[in-house]
Symmetry: C2
Subunit: 228 residues, 2 copies
DNA sequence: TGTTCCGCATGATCCAAATCATATGCGCCG
DNA sequence: CGGCGCATATGATTTGGATCATGCGGAACA
C-alpha cells in the first residue's frame, strides 16, 4: 500500500512531464503500437476500451476471466496477495503491452490487475478471441509466438534476479536491454522504475551506476547509457 | 501419486539410483506422463529418443532450432553463459517436463541445454510439430494453453525471487508447491536443488527449514514437508 | 518568486544472507 | 572392509545490499 501511494505520485508526475514516443504518436492519432496489431478487424470490433483511475482494479484474483488487455495509456500491474495481506507486484505493463494474456486459457484470473496510474486499456473479450484462435491458423501462430517470446523474456528476467552482485546484475540487464548497436541503452522511465525491475533498492542502483562509470565500464549521458 | 510415493521410495532404495514415480511407471510399461501426451500419433511417429551422459549438451546457444524435448528420464538444464564464462541456470527440467518449448518459434536456441544427470529425452522435431500446430486447431489450443501455464508459473517464480526474507520466500514457495490438500509438499530431488530454485544458499535453506520447524510452522518427515 | 514535490545522489549504519569451516551419516565402490 | 563423495546440518565470520538520513536541482504551481 505504501508502494501504491508512491506509484500514485508517479502518475501525477507522468502526466505533467514530457511524453514518450507512444504518447506522442497517440496524440497524433496514430495507433499505439501494440502486441495485438495483427488481430483482424472483425475481432477488433468486439473490443471495448476502459479507463481506470489510479488504484482502480481491472480484475481481481478469482474473477471469471472475461478478456485480456492491451495497455493504451498508463501502467497496470499484476499483484498477488498472500494470506497476511502483504502484496507483491508480479509484473508492470506499460503502453503497448499485452496484459493478462495467459489468463485467456484459464477460467479465472490468478492475481489482481490494478492500474498504478490513470490508465486506458483495450479489452479483448475472451470468447471472440478464443474462437479466432480456434479457426485462424495464422492468428494462432502469432499468439503462440507471442507467448513463447513472453516465456523467454520471463526466463531472462529470472536469470537477472538470480545474480547476486548488484553490479553484475546491472551489467547483465544493460547488455540485454542494449539497442541494436549492442552497447547503447535508452533508459525509458525513471531509474527508480529500473531499480524496481532489477529487484534492487534505488540507492543501490544509483551507486552501482556511479561505480561502473568511475570504473570506466559505462558512460552516461542524460537518459542514455553506453556500455564498453 | 503423492500418497504412493513414500512406499515407492522405500522400494527404490534397493535400486542403484533413486527413481521417481514416473520411472517406476515406465518400468511397468506405462508411458511417462508428459506435457505432450495429446500429440497425435502421426507426429509422435516423427519423434526420436536420445540418451545423454551427465554433462552432455542437447543444444548450444545459437544452434539452429531443430526441435523441442520432453524429458523421459533424468534432469536437463537451460544454461546461459556470460562474457566471462560464468554460467547461470535458467531452468531445470525434470521427468515429464517439456523443454525448450519456446524455441519452437525461434530460429535458434537462446541458451544451452545440458543434462545434469544421465538423461533420456524425446525429441519432437520442429517442422512436423509446427505444421501440426498450423493445421490442427485442437493441438494449437493445447499448445497455447501450455505456453500460457508456463508464463504463469514463471511469473510465480519471479514473485518468489522478489521476496527478500528467506523464511517468507520459503513459506511462499511451500504454499505454492503444496499438493492438492493444500499443505503437504513432496520434495522431489535434493534440498540443495530446492535452494537453487529459490535463489538461496543451501545452508540458508537448511537453517530456515529448521527454524520454521521449531516455530511450529512446518513439520518435516523424510521427503515430505507439511505446512500448518 | 517562493514553495513543494520528486528524481537523483551520497554518506552512515544495520542486518540478513553468503561464505567459510566443520561434522555426521549414508550409499557406493574399489 | 575402508575410504570417498555427497546431502544434510550447524557454527562463526564476512559482506554487500537495505535502510535511514540528508542534500541538491529541476519542474509545476500558486
Amino acid at each position: 500500500m505504501v508502494l501504491l501511494s508512491n506509484k500514485f505520485n508517479d502518475c501525477i508526475r507522468l502526466r505533467t512531464t514530457p511524453l514518450t514516443n507512444n504518447h506522442l504518436l497517440d496524440s497524433l492519432h496514430y495507433c499505439v503500437m501494440s502486441a495485438l496489431d495483427w488481430i483482424p478487424n472483425e475481432v477488433t470490433a468486439a473490443t471495448r476500451r476502459r479507463t481506470l483511475q489510479a488504484g482502480e482494479s481491472l480484475f481481481h484474483q478469482g474473477d471469471q476471466t472475461y478478456g485480456i488487455f492491451v495497455i493504451e495509456k498508463g501502467r497496470v500491474q499484476m499483484i498477488r496477495h498472500d494470506s497476511h495481506g502483504r502484496s507483491l507486484v508480479l509484473f508492470t505493463a506499460a503502453e503497448g503491452d499485452l496484459f493478462a494474456e495467459a489468463a485467456l486459457f484459464s477460467e479465472t484470473y490468478h492475481c489482481d490487475g490494478v492500474a498504478v496510474t490513470e490508465a486506458t486499456v483495450r479489452i479483448y473479450p475472451r470468447s471472440p478471441l478464443l474462437s479466432l484462435l480456434g479457426r485462424d491458423h495464422a492468428a494462432a501462430q502469432k499468439f503462440m509466438a507471442l507467448l513463447a517470446r513472453e516465456v523467454m523474456s520471463l526466463r531472462t528476467h529470472l536469470e537477472i534476479l538470480n545474480i547476486r552482485s548488484a553490479s553484475e546484475r546491472v551489467l547483465r540487464h544493460l547488455s540485454i536491454a542494449a539497442g541494436p548497436d549492442g552497447h547503447t541503452i535508452e533508459v525509458s522511465g525513471t531509474l527508480k522504475e529500473m531499480a524496481n525491475e532489477l529487484g534492487l533498492a534505488q540507492e543501490v542502483l544509483y551507486r552501482t551506476l556511479a561505480d561502473l562509470e568511475t570504473q570506466g565500464l559505462i558512460e552516461r549521458a542524460d537518459h542514455l547509457i553506453k556500455l564498453k
